[in-house]
Amino acid sequence: MSANGFNKSRRSLLAATGAAAIGISFGGLSACSQGKKAAAGAEEPKLNFYNWDTYIAENTLGDFEKASGIKVSMTNFATNDELFAKMKTGKTGYDVIVPSNDFVTQLAQANLLLPLDKAKLPNFKNIDPGVMSPDYDPDRKYSVPYTWLTLGLGYRKSKMPKGFVPDSWKYVFDSDMFKGRIALLSESGDLVRLGAKYLGYSVNAVTPEVVAQVEAMLKKQKPNIKAFHSDNGQDMLIAGDVDLVIEYNGDMMQAIADDKDKDLAYIVPKEGTQLNADCLCIPVDAPRPDNAHKFLNYIMEPQVGAQIAEFIGYATPNLAAKALTSPEYQNNPNIFPPADVMAKCEYAAFQGAEKAQLYDAAMTRVKA
């Protein structure tokens, strides 16, 4: 759902669909590690980290091992739904997971997260006080903030009319201007909420009537849509299959950085957008909660956080870390949108399983 990390989406998609298709379970590795219990009291120096693809700096895990002696093995997931489906079955063997804001709430409500021991996390002092008690996790009982991100439109400048900037959701939801040249995100919840945002509703005021309105709009728009992409919209844009996609800012940042022709761009539409925050959490049945706390505290070190933030290109909520980053990173409006844009953006709250089913049923009818 969120941040399929900054890209190489293709690889993460490969991992995700591959796992789904063939039934590989990454959980397998938990079985072996759980077998060898260390001496009473101490945890064996290992940690299983379940993360989005390319969503951490290359040297972070190695540095952590040098500093703490704990060896981290990281496996990747591609959507929050995949993460939740795995957590739901329990005993996955993971010690640290990276759910997005609404899934922090969902996991917490399902009693799948371990309350954090704040005494073991002194580096919480580095985090922006403004995000220390978000609606999705009051008082940060379960989650350490890792990144935050926007959804917006990625586009190819040379395929737009001269001087034109697609500054509205209209061009993907309610217009035939780019007929057959647009790709929408396939995540039902995000898509319905963004549709509601375009129609002037808050992303948290999506009633069944609003869902019906969005559904009707998308059914009408369907002939103009080339595909619903599984978070690889930037790849479709790069390959020239489409000219306009709904994507996460970090995914587009990477595409823009790699684009030799400097022909790609990203914009948050004028109606505002949905914000997401990815968080580090510890599953309630994590085999090594002590190591997990050490890892979380390490990630919040200013130097470590700065390296990660610059490497993955997403916004960091860690003020001490942000102070150590380059001016290019700090002043990038695609990473940190200006205040007037931010004023129109909002986080989507978790609103229960029935809502997710409502969204999914509507999108099934649209795609049928």
Partner: protein
């Protein structure tokens, strides 16, 4: 060796116990649990209560979902028909190939199995996409003709090969063709050649011999080829997901969404079991077809 199993019951039991254990523990029991889920209801985010409700099946049979089932059947049927039309001549050609070449031809048919389905599908994307090999070749030829005629063809428009139902059917035929060719080959290879010679000697042409002699005798191979192509095609998930466009949903994609996005396992289980029931029906139909010729001959 020609002992009846009745005379060696303990041996028979020993031989059977391992596969039977495997079948029950790893197939019947998990499938039974999913079957129970299909009569359950969500309780909160994690738990499912077995209430014996039929509401999941009622919802699965609503028109929205039924339409996707029908569309999936349609796509699987077109795929199977194309596989048969393409696969039959290929199987026939291998049958009549020289003995030395045969193993190599069969190897070529089986070669794709050595590569993961996902990789084969990604390879197809590289071929079909707008700046893929087919469109690049087409663009190249187009520019040459345009250059020679001074732009007679007008502006170049790439062929829409990806992100539509054509791509899904193409991908499914590509993936399932070996499943059709192999059973056809094994039937055709056992064919009594003298019957073909007799048919030709007695004045029937090649086409007539093919349809009046070869096809009826290959009936069992055709039926099993159709079955093992149709069933996986009906439940295909990856191909529509990666190659399909805005209306590419097949029933397996809907099922996947229930287990993940919608977090509605009971409904997903009901949809899955409808698919299982359809498979049973397809197998039963094949059984009937196979029995018929035997009955009419006697």
């Amino acid at each position: 060796m020609e002992q009846s199993w009745r005379q060696a019951k303990s041996m028979f039991a020993a031989m059977l116990s391992v596969p039977l254990f495997w079948l029950v523990v790893f197939f019947m029991v998990p499938l039974g649990i999913v079957w129970l889920y299909s009569f359950g209801e969500n309780r909160g985010l994690v738990d499912i209560a077995f209430t014996g409700t039929w509401s999941n099946y009622a919802r699965a049979l609503e028109w929205d979902n039924l339409a996707i089932f029908l569309k999936s059947i349609g796509i699987a049927a077109i795929t199977t028909a194309l596989c048969l039309v393409i696969g039959f001549p290929v199987a026939l050609a291998i049958t009549f190939a020289p003995e030395k070449v045969k193993p190599w031809l069969l190897l070529l048919i089986m070669l794709p199995f050595w590569t993961n389905l996902l990789i084969r599908t990604y390879a197809l994307i590289a071929v079909l996409r707008e700046q893929g090999y087919i469109n690049m070749g087409y663009h190249w030829g187009f520019d040459i003709v345009n250059g020679l005629t001074g732009g007679a063809l007008g502006e170049f428009h790439a062929l829409p090969l990806m992100y539509n139902n054509f791509a899904v059917v193409f991908g499914l035929v590509f993936v399932n063709l070996p499943f059709m060719i192999l059973p056809l080959y094994s039937t055709l290879d056992r064919l009594d050649r003298s019957l073909l010679e007799a048919s030709l000697d007695l004045g029937a042409g090649h086409i007539r011999t093919l349809f009046n002699v070869v096809v009826p005798m290959a009936g069992a191979g055709i039926a099993s080829g159709i079955l093992i192509t149709f069933i996986p095609a009906l439940g295909s998930y990856l191909t529509p997901d990666l190659l399909g466009g805005a209306d590419a949903l097949m029933i397996a994609n809907v099922i996947e969404a229930q287990f993940k996005r919608a977090n509605n396992w009971p409904f997903g289980a009901a949809l899955s079991f409808l698919l299982v029931y359809m498979t049973f029906i397809a197998i039963a139909v094949q059984g009937l077809i196979e029995r018929k010729p035997a009955g009419s001959r006697s």
